[in-house]
């Protein structure tokens, strides 16, 4: 075989020596590039990723690989979804920080551990549920996951939402940096399709609480604090979490609807005003549910598509 390129002896020797040195150093010090665990599946506004061991945050783009240890950060009014190799997904809200710490790929349901340091996220189990160990850590709690959908809020918004819950109380305390509110969303025992009901175990301060029904919640006020719960999250509380994890729906006038009003739960309509974000002083709490006053949530009112945010992909398939 004749190679088209010839390297002079000193250059080749240097290349070989450098290559071997780098390779050995990577192996010895764990510097090998971390394994890919998934991909960036959706980006809205400002989302940045810091690779393990790197100091710089770089803008995230759709279909960018996510590697073990990558730290994902979202800015204000920003959201993203990470799709893992086993098709589990994290939908992440504004001002959040998420890291995938461990991941073992299994097409039927891999195992992983992730950390949400702040913000809000929803974990959606991939496929029809795997048996692998899965856990999400907040600064003050660990969530053991068994094939499920779970919401987690960390920080000031967790306190604000929890204080609106009757079982927690408006005077409840909380550490603005670490307070965590965790909600099981499903699937419930009456779920349709080939879905296994989900469950989670929340452990904090040496105490574990099992949740096995949708909308069951646990609140952990701070480091060392005993978890409060389980309790059933109120409808306004869930509306607030929804508005953190997905972009809030813009208000629309209803007077000119060409279609008939859809069937609705008027009981809910009477009890709660339409889910908004912030009530001003001229908008006192309405309805009989005085234990659930509307509490300001720290999120923006509008969303703009970031230039080059990665959502301009042409249709495929």
């Amino acid at each position: 075989m004749t190679l088209p390129v010839f390297a002079p002896r000193p250059v080749a020797a240097a290349c070989l020596a450098i290559g071997m040195t780098l390779s050995l150093a990577a192996a010895a010090f764990g510097l090998a590039a971390p394994a890919v665990v998934g991909t960036v599946a959706a980006v809205l506004n400002e989302v940045r990723i810091k690779a393990l061991g790197m100091g710089q945050l770089r803008p995230a783009a759709i279909r960018q690989r996510l590697a073990l240890g990558d730290q994902v950060q979202t800015g204000a009014r920003s959201h993203m979804q990470a799709l893992l190799l086993d098709r589990s997904a994290f939908t992440v809200g504004p001002n959040s920080r998420l890291t995938i710490d461990r991941f073992v790929y299994d097409p039927s349901g891999g195992s992983f551990s992730a950390t949400v340091a702040k913000g809000a996220l929803r974990f959606i189990s991939g496929g029809r549920g795997g048996a692998g160990g899965r856990s999400i850590a907040t600064p003050v709690a660990t969530i053991g996951i068994r094939g499920t959908i779970v919401d987690a809020v960390v920080g000031e918004n967790a306190i604000a939402i929890a204080r609106g819950e009757r079982e927690v109380g408006a005077s409840a305390g909380g550490d603005p940096a670490t307070a965590s509110l965790i909600v099981l969303r499903g699937p419930g025992p009456r779920a349709q399709g080939e879905v296994t009901p989900g469950a989670i175990t929340v452990t904090a301060a040496g105490r574990s609480i099992d949740l096995d029904r949708p909308m069951q919640a646990v609140y952990v006020p701070g480091p060392g604090a005993a978890p409060i719960g389980p309790f059933e999250l109120s409808l306004p509380g869930q509306a607030r979490i929804n508005d953190l994890i997905l972009p809030p729906v813009a208000a629309r006038p209803t007077e000119t609807m060409p279609y008939p009003q859809p069937p609705s739960s008027d009981r809910y309509r009477r009890r709660y005003p339409p889910p908004g974000l912030i009530d001003g002083p001229d908008q006192p709490a309405r309805g009989p549910d005085v234990a659930n006053p509307r509490i300001p949530i720290i999120i923006p009112e509008e969303h703009d598509q970031a230039p080059g945010g990665g959502n301009d992909d042409p249709p495929v398939d």
Binding site: A33, R63, A239, D266
Partner: protein
């Protein structure tokens, strides 16, 4: 002789690049296809409906959330998402999302698609008001 040293040089380059190999590993094509399909609401919605029909409800939920992030005003995706919560037995969550969407202009058939999964549990609409 030169071949030997060239091979040595290439080996060296290869070794130095080896640590980077994992970072460029391929995501399974099926996973890539899921992401591509949600770049546009129409293809994303079609994918979600196929997943729902196949019983892959949690995959459908993730799909719809990608569509919503790609286009926050995608009302149809939000409506389908609300109905999907009901299929997943998160009936309160479904109610919350339907309430937010009430007042938007949706064809009745679309509303039926979203609300039928919870038909049995739904509070009947008021009459006489």
């Amino acid at each position: 002789m030169n071949d030997r040293w060239t091979l040595a040089a290439l080996t060296g380059v290869g070794l130095s690049l080896a640590p980077m190999q994992a970072a460029t590993a391929q995501v399974p094509p099926a996973t890539e296809a899921l992401v591509r399909a949600t770049a546009q609401p129409a293809t994303g919605l079609a994918l979600a409906r196929r997943q729902i029909a196949a019983g892959d409800l949690t995959l459908a939920m993730a799909t719809l959330e990608r569509v919503i992030l790609a286009q926050p005003e995608a009302g149809e995706a939000r409506l389908l998402h609300a109905g999907l919560l009901c299929r997943l037995d998160d009936r309160q969550g479904s109610l919350v999302e339907l309430d937010v969407l009430r007042g938007r202009d949706f064809p009745p058939a679309l509303w039926r698609e979203a609300t039928e999964p919870c038909e049995a549990d739904r509070v009947p609409p008021r009459t006489g008001e």
